[in-house]
Amino acid sequence: MSVNLTLLTVMGVLYACGIYLLLERSLTRVLLGLMLLANATNLLILTTGGYAGLAPLFAKDTDPGAYSDPLPQALILTSIVISFAVTAFMLGIIYRTWVLARQDEIQDDAEDLRVAETPSFDAEDDAVIPEETSEFPLPAVEPDAGGTILAGARQMPAGEAAAEERPGSRTTAPNQEGGSE
């Protein structure tokens, strides 16, 4: 298949400019970039149809090979309509950005920035859990302060009751190595 060098060159330039504009931060330039990309692709589709021939209108004694290939042109028409709709929508978005922010720049995502700034230490997930050995926390009573509380059916000194909640705290004192006798 032979190709048209002019079309290919134009297509290459359109792609290059389109990609350059797409990487800009201004929305209008991004839109222009998208339009150039769409048109470059339309040229590419046109190129795939091969050399231009006769208009594809049926006439009885014409050689089928003499016609232009009509399919790429149908595809281009469809894609032009689609890119028209997208361009109109993008223009709407650009106008809305201008109304809202009085600028035509692409904004950073606020939530992304917030997550990036979050410290790796999360107080709720990573903090040391305060040790709570008793299943039924007793009112804070000093062991030697005296006073009695009702435990079960009998009265007992508060210190005794608190010690009973921590098995082993009084009967076996840990030795220096940390193990119990």
């Binding site: 692709t41 589709i45 795939t48 790429p72 689609i82 692409i106 904004q107």
Partner: protein, 542 residues
């Protein structure tokens, strides 16, 4: 009578509905009735298509009587009809949810009245993409659904939505341009864009050209499906949209991309040329996605990251190109559409009830609204793959297929799959612990609605029953809860009927890998289907 003659109705009915609802733009009640009725009708039609395809095999219809390979064909096979049924069921539930939300908020503003037509156009585009037997028609289907999704994404035109919309629109347009370039090159190389015809002709090209076309299509579809290096746009753009819109996007749009990748891999480019790279990509998608989810505090963003991560499972199943792997992937797609959508719908309810979707601010919901807790808990456990739910069955199928394959890379993927499943559980459990089990007083800046709830902790639970029930009705409208409940039940039903569904996905996988029924349905029984190239084949175009 060819049953596929009714297939175009799956596209035409929603478009008709869109036209009618656009005419009825001032009558919101009629709009609701028309759109729900037409979507239900579409769902019934698709169920019937699925049933008849299951019995009668693949069928195709040429639009307007233009014969393939020149005209446009719509093809109904087991995979596409299963996708149609699941997607329509999910979109119907989301539509009911959205109308419930609209009625509860009582707003009849102009932007909301275009919701119905746009939504129906979206459904039409999804159906068209699933049915298309022609690459350019697939492109048109994508464009229909994408253009509708641009409008839905920026509904209301608030600042954050416009910002998210820009990312989404630009990325989608670039992926569409790539797809169009691929179509142009394929047409230049083979002179056809009919998929069945391409399946016959692509094998004759030399290996280098084939690889180029293959990679172009994979990149274009990879952006749409949010496969790892190309998934950056998704968590930035989905969470800002209204809850029902995010739900339907998460459920359907990425899966259309996955569907297109499946078709590319099985029908157009069979064989295992790109299996190794696809497996690596699947592993990275799973692990990187879920690590991203762990860092988030907003439930919607967290779910968007799990969405990206679980796309990896589907690519994993697909990349094995075995009947077991592809069948499990088909099952997983059906499961994931349902589950991910219901999770996003529940998050919408959480946001209504608790005034925020950030796990730092939401707390104590298990006590305030036990129903909401149940609605969240079941799909969440399903997503993490806790037995016996369908997520577990799908993952089990994938892991079994991976072990069956037995290569080192497959074992790495099996390990990665298990790890991702555990990390999903961790991410979900974090949400559960904070939003549902924590006391409201412990939250950061809790919404007053959480603290002022009737029957709060200070008074104990006595007497909270009737008053709290009456109070939650306004916050949780019955239609919204009802449609979410329906989706959750559908998710559970996928578990109950997992046997038949697994058989169906296995059959459809075998059919797709064989290719002959698809090609015969489109091009007639006379053609001889070329055997899929073996790994050692050099390509016949020399």
């Amino acid at each position: 009578m060819n049953i596929a003659s009714f297939a175009p109705l799956a596209v035409v009915l929603p478009i008709l509905g869109a036209a009618l609802t656009f005419l009825l733009i001032r009558h919101s009640r009629a709009q609701r009735t028309v759109s729900i009725a037409l979507l239900s009708l579409t769902l019934l039609l698709e169920c019937w298509l699925l049933a008849s395809v299951w019995e009668g095999g693949t069928a195709a219809v040429s639009i307007g009587g233009w014969l393939p390979p020149w005209g446009i064909v719509l093809v109904v096979d087991q995979f596409s009809s299963l996708m149609l049924v699941v997607s329509s069921a999910v979109s119907l539930a989301v539509l009911v949810y959205a109308t419930g939300q609209g009625m509860a908020d009582g707003d009849s503003d102009a932007p909301v009245s275009i919701f119905h037509p746009t939504y129906l156009i979206l459904v039409a585009g999804v159906s068209n993409a699933f049915l298309s037997g022609d690459l350019f028609n697939l492109y048109v289907g994508f464009e229909i659904l994408l253009t509708a999704s641009y409008v839905l994404m920026t509904l209301g035109g608030t600042g954050p939505r416009i910002r998210a919309g820009v990312t989404y629109v630009v990325v989608s347009v670039v992926s569409s341009v790539l797809f169009l370039i691929a179509i142009a090159m394929i047409y230049g190389a083979t002179g056809t864009i009919n998929m069945a015809d391409l399946a016959m002709k692509l094998g004759d090209l030399d290996q280098g050209t084939r690889n180029l076309l293959h990679v172009l299509l994979l990149v274009a579809f990879g952006i749409k499906a949010a496969v790892f290096p190309l998934s950056f746009w998704l968590p930035d753009s989905y969470p800002t949209a209204p809850a029902p819109v995010t739900a339907v996007f998460a459920g359907l749009l990425t899966k259309v991309g996955v569907y297109a990748i499946v078709r590319t891999e099985t029908l157009l480019f069979p064989g295992d040329t790109f299996n190794q790279p696809l497996m690596v990509v699947a592993l990275l998608t799973m692990v990187v996605g879920i690590l991203g989810a762990l860092a988030q505090s907003d439930i919607k963003r967290l779910l968007s990251f799990t969405l990206v991560s679980h796309i990896g499972y589907m690519v994993f199943g697909l990349a094995m190109s075995s009947v077991a792997g592809l069948g499990a992937a088909v099952f997983y797609v059906a499961h994931h559409i349902t589950i991910q959508t219901s999770l996003f719908l529940v998050t919408g309810l959480i946001e209504r009830r608790a005034g925020s979707s950030s796990v730092d601010r939401v707390a104590g919901l298990a006590k305030l609204s036990p129903l909401l807790a149940v609605l969240f808990f079941i799909p969440a456990m399903n997503l993490a793959g806790i037995p016996p739910l369908s997520g577990f069955l799908g993952k089990l199928g994938l892991l079994q297929a991976g072990v069956l394959l037995g290569t080192p890379l497959a074992y790495a993927l099996v390990a990665g799959g298990v790890l991702t499943s555990l990390l999903t559980l961790l991410a979900i459990a974090r949400v559960w612990n904070r939003a549902f089990w924590r006391k409201p007083e412990d939250a950061e800046h809790p919404d007053p609605v959480l603290l002022a709830a009737p029957g709060g902790e200070s008074q104990g639970t006595g007497g909270a029953g009737t008053s709290s029930a009456r109070h939650t009705v306004s916050l949780l409208p019955r239609t919204m809860v009802g449609s979410t409940l329906a989706l959750v039940i559908l998710g559970v039903a996928l578990t109950v009927f997992a046997g038949p569904l697994f058989r169906l996905s296995g059959q459809s996988a075998a059919e797709m890998l064989d290719r002959s029924s698809y090609i015969h349905a489109v091009l007639g029984d006379e053609v001889t289907v070329p055997a899929p190239p073996q790994p050692v084949a050099q390509g016949g175009g020399k």
